[in-house]
């Protein structure tokens, strides 16, 4: 490990040198006659060179962390990255240059969209819609409460304090409140992904962090306008409320439109498979940018686009494109996140700071206090309408998981210094809050989760039986709701699915795939290959041992076969629910390799599979005597020919 640490230090040093020297002009004046065999022209490549260098640094850091399991087990990655950023910033400053600050435009236009798209595309829809009411309540009402509570109390504190804080007026406080109150999706993702908390809590906090963007955007622009204009009327406040609805719904609408366009485009890409992923990315990015043009909520547009287009696009595109999209999204969002945290560290060293003990400490205390009060109060109301109530433990995690991050910093950075003379103080306070939440809350949440014995994410050992019975249960619930005459949750979902199947899928999914259950064809092929590959590697020993060694063999249906069956099931049952087991940044489910296999091996395994299945499952219509059955088994024929043929049919799909 000492080598790794040494390597890091050298890397950091070299990087900083590169940054520093890069700023200097290195082109020599060409007044000699000698032909320059070797000359340096750094200006030509400066911009891309620096960008690549930063990204390379970020990726190498990531690599380094995972080589040291001790560290990554205790400290969340985001903390380490911020520390690295601090180091880099410090080194650059030591070398006499000014470290770069996180440029807000860069952040909002380049670094944030990949993360949000990744989150939106792989958003688990089922938990999200089931808890939509709760999530919206937390996002909207919770954020509003936080903003006004913080703004008001801060204003009161500034009034009381006098001195340097006397110039902070109510509007500035409210604006500060609106910037600092919003839970940040990047930070939440970074921390929560490592603690593997149960699905419900994950989706609550994460969903809230995504949806509160609309509130934040509206309030930010609102207060900024008011501060600029100088006076507030009742009409303005009313317009603010209207603005909120416009921003939120407009964002969703823009995202939805682009999503439908993307789905429609993907219908015709069967001859140009190579650029299929590009459409997904471009349409989503366009949705984000279009929403930003009108000051609508870009995040909501991006989420809506991803959610809308996913089921249709996945039915249309090839398997390889699907893999490409998945990997590219994970890669980009991973790099973005790393860069964001590193830049946060660097900006801390760089930015002009105005430290004020009172202001900063009150801010931190208020953040925690308002969050806790907000969550507890809202949960009390929400629990009246929920079937699965949120317990005290859940509330604690939701409150504690309200992390602030780079969005708050960037928004503060965008403030103009003329309207807000206290901008530096705000920035310092925000950075302190971010550090506090990411370091203190981020580091302690894992031991707290273990201490409170909060339910962890179920290890996705989803068996076929569970799948069958869960689907059965859903139909059952929809049916019982029909008997009750109650138009509930299940009823509407049922209706939506029927509408989806009948009309929308016809338009957006190309060719004959709109008729058949969509996942079946490529999943069949993929899982089949996988199953047989694994069978071959598993049972090559068994095959050679022959039949006699089968006396006490464990009944071992291969996991991949199980996966195959599960996917077939999921693809066909009336509600095709795409349940992704892991939305972790660091792991992806392994996909099947596209290798060839020989025909003979295929046949051998088919026979073997059939034999095992048909041996252990008999339809006891004709009870046989044990010796007769054993004899039949040892001869190697399938026990019942019709069972054998049915399994052959499955394999031949």
């Amino acid at each position: 490990y000492i080598y790794v640490a040494l390597f890091w230090m050298l890397l950091l040093l070299g990087f900083c040198c590169g940054m520093v020297f890069g700023d200097q002009n290195r082109s020599d004046p060409h007044d000699q006659r000698v032909f320059p065999v070797l000359s340096i022209n750094y200006d030509y490549v400066q911009m891309p060179f620096e960008v690549s260098l930063w990204i390379l640094l970020a990726s190498l850091m990531k690599l380094g962390f995972h080589l040291l399991p001790v560290l990554s087990g205790v400290v969340p990655e985001s903390c380490l990255l911020i520390v690295v950023g601090l180091l880099v910033g410090g080194l650059i400053r030591v070398m006499g240059k000014n470290p770069p600050v996180l440029d807000s435009q860069l952040f909002f236009l380049c670094l944030l969209p990949p993360i949000i798209l990744d989150a939106g595309y792989f958003l688990p829809i089922r938990p999200f819609t089931e808890n939509a009411g709760t999530i919206l309540t937390f996002a909207v009402l919770g954020t509003l409460w936080n903003v006004f509570f913080m703004g008001a109390v801060l204003y009161g504190a500034c009034r009381l304090e006098a001195g340097r804080l006397a110039s902070v007026d109510l509007l500035s406080c409210l604006l500060f409140g609106s910037i600092v109150s919003a839970v940040d999706p990047v930070a939440v993702l970074a921390v929560f992904e490592e603690i593997h908390i149960n699905e419900l809590l994950h989706i609550l906090v994460f969903g809230e962090s995504l949806l509160n963007d609309a509130v934040t955007v509206v309030l930010y622009h609102l207060f900024e306008e008011f501060a600029h204009a100088g006076e507030v009327t009742v009409g303005d406040v009313f317009l603010g409320v209207v603005c909120f609805f416009v921003v939120a719904l407009g964002g969703v609408l823009v995202g939805g439109v682009y999503g439908v366009l993307a789905a429609f485009t993907s219908r015709f890409t069967s001859h140009t498979r190579v650029i299929e992923p590009l459409f997904v990315f471009l349409y989503s990015y366009m949705a984000y940018l279009s929403a930003e043009v009108f000051h609508l909520s870009g995040i909501m547009a991006l989420i809506a686009c991803g959610v809308v287009m996913r089921p249709y696009v996945e039915a249309n595109i090839s398997h390889k494109s699907y893999t490409t999209i998945k990997y590219f999204l994970k890669m980009w969002s991973s790099v973005s996140e790393t860069l964001i945290f590193i830049f946060l560290g660097v900006s801390t060293v760089a930015g002009p700071h105005a430290w004020n003990w009172t202001f900063v400490s009150i801010t931190i205390v208020l953040c925690l206090l308002s969050r806790v009060l907000g969550v507890v109060g809202l949960t009390y109301i929400i629990n009246k309408y929920r079937m699965v109530k949120l317990s005290g433990k859940d509330q604690f995690i939701v409150a504690y998981g309200g992390l602030r991050g780079a969005i708050a910093f960037s928004l503060a950075f965008l403030l103009s210094s003329d309207d807000f003379p206290m901008k530096d103080m705000f920035l310092t306070a925000i950075i302190t809050v971010i550090f506090f939440t990411v370091f203190v809350q981020g580091m302690t949440i894992r031991p707290l989760v273990d201490l409170l014995a909060v339910k962890k994410r179920k290890q996705s050992k989803c068996s076929i039986n569970e799948e069958i019975h869960t689907q059965f249960l859903e139909h059952l619930l929809a049916g019982i709701e029909g008997v009750c005459g109650h138009y509930g949750h299940h009823h509407w979902r049922h209706k939506l699915n029927r509408f989806n199947k009948r009309y929308i899928k016809r338009c957006l999914i190309g060719g004959e795939r709109s008729q058949e259950p969509q996942l079946i064809s490529f999943y069949n092929k993929m899982e089949l290959k996988q199953a047989l590959m694994l069978l071959e590697s598993n049972s090559s020993a068994n095959l050679s041992a022959g039949v006699t060694a089968r006396s006490r063999k464990t009944l071992n249906i291969s996991k991949e076969r199980e996966e195959e069956i599960r996917k077939i099931l999921r693809g066909n049952l009336q509600k095709t629910r795409q349940r992704l087991c892991s939305y972790s940044r660091h792991t992806l489910k392994p996909d099947a390799e596209d290798d060839d296999w020989s025909e003979t091996r295929l046949r051998k395994q088919r026979v073997e599979m059939e034999r095992r299945m048909s041996h252990f499952l008999t339809v006891p219509a004709l009870p046989e005597s044990p010796p007769a059955r054993r004899a039949r088994v040892e001869s190697g024929e399938p026990l019942r020919s019709d069972q054998g043929s049915s399994l052959t049919a499955v394999f031949e799909l």
Binding site: M387, V388, K389, S463, I464, N465, E466, I468, H469, T470, F472, L473, L476, L477, A478, G479, I480, E481, G482, V483, C484, G485, H486, G488, H489, H490, H494, R498, Q515, E516, P517, I520, R550, S551, R552, T554, L555, N556, R561, E562, I565, I568, L569, N572, L573, M613, F616, L617, V619, P620, P626, R629, R630, V633, Q643, S646, L647, A649, V650, L653
Partner: protein, 216 residues
Amino acid sequence: MGSFQSLPDDHQYRTLSQKTGFSLEQIAILHNRFKQLSQNEETLRRDDLKTIQDLESNPIRSQIIEAFFDSRNFQKDGVGSVEEIGFEEFLTVMSYFRAPPQHITEEQREEMRRAKLRFLFNMHDTDNDGTITLEEYRHVVEELLSRSGALGRETAKGIADAAMLEVASISVGPMAPDEFYEGITFEHFLKILNGVEIETRMNIRFLNMDATVLCK
């Protein structure tokens, strides 16, 4: 449909409330629905349930309707199915879909879970022999896949076979070559559905219904 205080069978409601755990308000609402379905008669028949339009697109429609008339679900040791049911039986079947109250002990929760799983088990075990055989399981999977006609019975068989194999491997473990797996007993059923939180998922919201508005 006035408030429930003016209804004559208030005492009856109270005994029902104690038996099934519904509140008086919920019972009144369900009673209205019952009367609507049975066209104001005292008993409900299968045909009455078949008229519900919402059920028509449901793939397991027949099994749901059967569940209402299966006497195992409303009598302690009931056997077989009946032709018509009264309001009390209707309510008893509905009580399987009540949400667990917020503060109950572990045993009560476990009991509720077992009761709900028993209901599900009875739905699959149509011949009432205490086990779900391969045929019955195949039937279940076929019904579920019935809406996607492209697949047909062959795949359903394959899937049901694989599922049974899985149950066997979980519950029974390694088997000798001359053993064969008869069927899923209730204990095995409990085991394989261990990971699914039935008591929180198998619930319907009963309070927000207004049966007068919905005429289907």
